[in-house]
C-alpha cells in the first residue's frame, strides 16, 4: 500500500481546474459588464427640446468624454482575457485524450458473460488453462511475445477464476475491487508536470515572489491609498480639506463659488501652460459691464475683490472661468470655452463635498447656500441672475425685458402663470425672442418638473399619537405640476391620506419596497412599488447628464440650525408624465423617518423641499410636530378601545414591548378613516410651547 502524489502528466485535469477558477471570476465580471444599466441618467426620460446653446457641441463632446471615462476599460480587458483563457482550456480538454483507469473485471479477463454459472465458469477456465498454460504455448515472435507475458496472462486468468470461485479471493475482490486485496492508490494534483520539473524551480520562485512580494502589496497599497485619496463624496481628499478650511458661518453663494475654486481636481484640467493662459482675457470679459448687472458675469463687488486678491495661477483662472460659466460669458476661444464648461461640471461635484461639510456644521445659511450653488452650477446661472434664464433662448436682455424694472426676479412659475398674450407682449419683439424661440422656451417651461407640496404631516406607523422618542415619519404629499399648466385638476382628498399597511402584511411593515393603496373594498392593500424616474434635467450648459433629485429637510427656524438632515428622493412611485409628455397630476408621496424628540411638546419646524437642479423650485413651509406624553397616549388609546385585542398581531406584540403593558389595551386594527385626523399636521392650531428654542445665543 503506497500513497504518493502524482502530477498531471498528461494534462488531463489542470485545464478543468483553471477553467473553473477563471470561470468563477469571469462570469460575474461579464454579468456586471453586460447587465442592463441601472444608471438613472441612462434610463430617465428626456425633456423634449431641439434647443442647443451656442456651444452645444462643446457641451455634448464633454458629456461624451465623461461617459467614455466611466466605461470600464480595465474590466473589459479582464473579461476578454478570461474568456480567451477559458476557450483555450476548453480546447485543451477536447484535444487531450482522457485516460480512464481500467477496472479489474474477472469476467472480462476470462471472456465470459456475467450470467455464467459456477459450473460453466469452471469448464471455461479449464479450457482456457489448457490453451494458455505457459507450458503449452510458445512465445510467438511475430506478436512480439515473451515468456514472461505468457506467464502473466496465465496468472491473471487464474486470479480471475479464483475471484469467482474461491471464497477468500472473492471476499478480497468484493471488498477492494481486486483479488490481491488493497491496491495502491494515488492522489493527483491538477498541476502540469512542468511546474515541478527539475530546473524550473527558480522561475517558479521568481513568479511567486512577483505575485506575493510585489503585485499583492502593490494592489493592497493602491487600494488603500485610493480609498484615502478620495472622500466619501467622490472628490479628492485634499479638495475636501480645503473646502473645510474655507467654510464659515456667514458664507454666501458667491463665497461658496470662491471656495469651490480651491479644488485640486481643477489642476488636472488646467495643466501646464493652460494654468494661466488667457486669464487676463477671461477677467476682462467677466468684469465688463453686463446687460442688467454691473458685471457681465453677475458677481458682486465682494466676489470681484476676492478674485483680485488671489495670486494668479490655476486657482485664479479657475475662479474666473467659473464666473464666466455662471454668467454665460462668451470667451471667443475654443480652449477657454471648453475649460469653462469643464470647470463648471467639476465645481458641482466639489459642491457635493461642501454640502456635506455644511451639513456637519448644521447652520442653515451655508446649507441653503450650497443647495442654491448646486442649482446655479447646473443651470449656469450666476447667484443674482434671473431664474428665467433656465428657459432656452432667454438671455439677460430678454429676462430684463420680461421682468421690467422690478427689484426681485420673476420665477419661471410666475412667468409661465401669466396669460399667453401677456407673455408674448413681454418676450417677443425686436432684439428679443422670435415667435419660434418663444414657442421653444414655453414648451420647455411646460415640461419642467415643479413639485408642488399639497400637504405635509407627521405620523407614527400604526399609532394614533406621537410619543417621545418614537420613530416619526414625515409624510409629504405633492404633485408635479409643470409651470404654466392650465386646468390643474383639484386635489383628490383621498389621495392625501397616508394609509398604513395591513397588520398582517409583513413585507410592507418591514419597509420592503412596497406601497400601500386603498383597495376597492376600502381595505388597505399593498402593491409593488414601481420606481419612476423624473426626466433628466434640462441643462444645456452643464457638461454632464444629471437626473434631478429632491431633498426634504427640517430646520429650526429660531436657531437657524438644521433639525433633521436631508432625505433624498430621486425616484417616485407614480409616473410624472404620461406617454405624450403631459403631466399626470398623480399624488406623489415622499416619506422620511427620524426619531421624535425625547420630550413631549409642540415643535415647529421649517420644512424645506429643494430640487437640486432647477432654480426657484424650492418649497419652504412650517410644520408642527406634536409629541404627546406616553402615559397620556396610552390613556387615549384605552378610551377608544372597541373590541378584544389581537394578541397574535405583530403590532400588538410590538405595542406590548414598547409600553411594557399587557396587550389588554390594544385597540382594534385601525380603519383608514382615522388616519387623517390624528396626525399632527400643518393644520394644527399653533400654540407653541416648545422648550427647545429658548436659549438662542445673543451676539456679544
Amino acid at each position: 500500500m503506497s500513497s504518493d502524489y502524482s502530477y498531471d502528466e498528461q494534462g488531463q485535469f489542470f485545464p478543468f481546474f483553471i477553467l473553473t477558477v477563471t470561470g468563477l471570476v469571469t462570469f460575474p465580471l461579464t454579468y456586471s459588464l453586460f447587465r442592463k444599466s441601472t444608471d438613472n441618467d441612462a434610463l430617465a426620460p428626456r425633456i423634449k427640446s431641439d434647443y442647443t446653446s451656442k456651444h452645444g457641441d462643446v457641451v455634448t463632446s464633454l458629456r461624451a468624454a465623461q461617459k467614455r471615462k466611466q466605461r470600464k476599460i480595465k474590466r473589459v480587458i479582464f473579461v476578454v482575457l478570461g474568456w480567451a483563457l477559458m476557450a483555450g482550456m476548453v480546447y485543451l480538454i477536447i484535444v487531450t485524450q482522457t485516460i480512464v483507469p481500467k477496472i479489474w473485471n474477472p469476467y472480462d479477463i476470462l471472456g465470459i458473460s456475467e450470467s455464467f454459472t459456477e459450473k460453466q465458469i469452471k469448464s471455461h477456465y479449464k479450457r482456457l488453462s489448457v490453451k494458455f498454460h505457459p507450458d503449452k504455448v510458445r512465445p510467438d515472435p511475430s506478436k512480439n511475445e515473451t515468456l514472461e507475458m505468457l506467464n502473466d496472462r496465465y496468472v491473471e486468468l487464474t486470479k480471475a477464476y479464483q475471484a469467482l470461485t474461491d471464497e477468500d479471493v472473492r471476499n478480497n475482490y468484493i471488498q477492494y475491487g481486486h483479488p490481491d486485496g488493497k491496491q495502491s492508490f494515488s492522489i493527483g494534483i491538477a498541476l502540469p508536470q512542468f511546474i515541478i520539473a527539475e530546473g524550473n524551480g527558480k522561475y517558479l520562485i521568481l513568479l511567486y515572489t512577483g505575485l506575493m512580494g510585489i503585485l499583492l502589496p502593490y494592489m493592497v497599497g493602491s487600494w488603500w491609498y485610493g480609498t484615502k485619496r478620495m472622500s466619501k463624496e467622490g472628490v479628492l481628499m485634499e479638495s475636501a480639506n480645503r473646502l473645510f478650511r474655507h467654510y464659515n458661518e456667514e458664507i454666501d453663494e458667491g463665497g461658496i463659488i470662491t471656495a469651490l475654486s480651491t479644488g485640486k481636481e481643477f489642476e488636472a484640467v488646467l495643466k501646464g501652460d493652460q494654468a494661466e493662459s488667457g486669464l487676463s482675457k477671461v477677467e476682462s470679459r467677466i468684469t465688463a459691464e453686463g446687460e442688467s448687472a454691473p458685471f457681465a458675469c453677475g458677481f458682486s463687488v465682494k466676489d470681484k475683490e476676492k478674485l483680485e486678491d488671489l495670486d494668479s495661477g490655476v486657482r485664479r483662472k479657475v475662479l474666473a472661468l467659473l464666473w464666466a460659466y455662471l454668467g454665460r460669458v462668451e470667451l471667443d476661444d475654443p480652449a477657454l470655452t471648453k475649460a469653462k464648461f469643464e470647470v463648471g461640471a467639476i465645481a458641482r461635484t466639489l459642491n457635493q463635498s461642501f454640502a456635506a461639510i455644511a451639513m456637519a456644521f448644521g447652520s442653515i445659511g451655508p446649507i441653503a447656500g450650497s443647495f442654491k450653488a448646486n442649482q446655479h452650477l447646473i443651470q449656469a446661472l450666476s447667484p443674482k441672475s434671473s431664474p428665467l434664464l433656465q428657459l432656452p433662448h432667454i438671455n439677460d436682455k430678454v429676462a430684463a425685458a420680461i421682468e421690467g424694472d422690478s427689484k426681485s426676479h420673476l420665477s419661471v412659475q410666475q412667468f409661465m402663470d401669466l396669460p399667453d398674450a401677456e407673455r408674448r407682449r413681454l418676450a417677443i419683439g425686436k432684439d428679443l425672442l422670435s415667435e419660434d424661440q418663444y414657442k421653444e422656451a414655453i414648451s420647455v417651461g411646460k415640461q419642467l418638473p415643479y413639485f408642488r407640496v399639497a400637504k405635509a404631516f407627521f405620523k407614527v406607523t400604526g399609532e394614533k399619537v406621537i410619543i417621545p422618542s418614537s420613530l416619526v415619519t414625515l409624510v409629504i404629499k405633492g404633485r408635479f405640476i409643470p409651470p404654466g399648466t392650465e386646468s390643474v385638476p383639484a386635489i383628490d382628498e383621498l389621495s392625501l391620506e397616508d394609509i398604513d399597511p395591513a397588520e398582517d402584511d409583513l413585507d410592507a411593515l418591514m419597509g420592503r419596497k412596497k406601497k400601500t393603496i386603498k383597495g376597492p373594498d376600502g381595505k388597505p392593500i399593498t402593491v409593488e412599488d414601481n420606481s419612476v424616474l423624473p426626466p433628466l434635467t434640462f441643462a444645456p450648459h452643464y457638461a454632464r447628464d444629471h437626473s434631478p433629485k429632491w431633498y426634504a429637510f427640517l430646520s429650526d427656524s429660531k436657531q437657524d440650525k438644521m433639525a433633521v438632515p436631508p432625505f433624498t428622493f430621486d425616484k417616485f412611485d407614480q409616473p410624472l408624465f404620461d406617454g405624450e409628455g403631459k403631466p399626470t397630476f398623480n399624488m406623489q408621496t415622499l416619506k422620511a423617518q427620524f426619531a421624535a424628540p425625547p420630550q413631549p411638546g409642540h415643535y415647529t419646524f421649517c420644512m424645506h423641499v429643494v430640487c437640486d437642479s432647477y432654480v426657484g423650485f424650492d418649497t419652504k413651509m412650517e410644520v408642527t410636530l406634536v409629541v404627546e406624553d406616553a402615559s397620556k397616549a396610552a390613556q387615549m388609546e384605552a378610551e377608544d378601545e372597541i373590541s378584544e385585542p389581537e394578541e397574535d398581531s405583530i403590532a400588538g406584540q410590538m405595542r406590548a414591548l414598547k409600553t411594557g403593558q399587557p396587550v389588554g389595551g390594544e385597540p382594534k386594527p385601525r380603519r383608514n378613516k382615522d388616519s387623517s385626523d390624528e396626525e399632527s399636521g400643518t393644520d394644527e392650531e399653533e400654540d407653541d410651547t416648545s422648550d427647545t428654542n429658548t436659549d438662542t445665543e445673543d451676539e456679544s
Binding site: I205, T209, G213, P217, K228, S231, K232, E233, M237, E238, A240, N241, F244, R245, Y247, N248, E249, S353, A356, I357, A360, F361, G362, D405, K407, E699, S700
Partner: protein
Amino acid sequence: MFDIDWKGLALPFAYLIVLGGALMTFSTIYRRRKAAESANLAPWFGPHLQRDIYLSLLHLDPEEGAEKAPKVPDGVLRAALLRRAVEDIERLIHIKTAKQACGALLQRGSVGDDLWQRFLRAEKEMEEELRDVVTEANALAPNWGSIIFQSAHEIAANTKLRQRLEEIQAQTDAEKAWWDKKRGQIRADFMKELEESEKGSTKDAHEDDAVVVDSPKK
C-alpha cells in the same frame, strides 16, 4: 564535522534577506514620508499679525548709538495685547465651532486625516496662546488676565456687528438710485395720464424725495 551544503542554503537565505530588506525599506520609506507629511502640514491659521505686533513692541531693539531701547508706553502695550486677545477670541470661536463638525466628517470619511491632525495641532497651539496672553496680561496689570478675554469677546462681537451694519449701509446708494429711477418712471407714467399740470407737480415731488430717501444712520 557537519557537511553543510552552503550552495543549497543560498536560496533560503536569499529569500530571508529579500523579505527582510523589503519590509525594512517599506517601513523606513513609510516613516520618512509620515514625518515629512506632519512637518509639512500647513498651519490651520495664517500668521498671527496682532501677536507679532505685540511681541515686537515688547522686545524693541535699541536704536543705533542708543544704549537702551526706546520705552514703549504702557497704554500702547496694553492696546496691542488687547488686539491680540481679540484675534485669539475669533480663532477660538472658529475652533470651537469646527471641532464637532470636523470630527463627524472625519468619521464619515468626508475629510482627510491630515486635516484632523492640523486641527488638533491648531487647538494645542491655541491653548498655549491663550495661556501666554493671560500671563502677559497679568504682568502688565494685576488680575487683568482674568477679564481680558471678556473684553476681547465684546470687542470682537461689536466689530462684527459694525461690519454687518456697514455692509447694509453700503447698499444705500444703489438702493437709493434704484428707487429714484423707479419713482421717476412711475411719475413719468403718471404724467402721461395727467398731462395738464406738469411743472407744478414735479417740484412737489422733489421735496418728497428728500424725506423718503433720508435713511436713518445708526
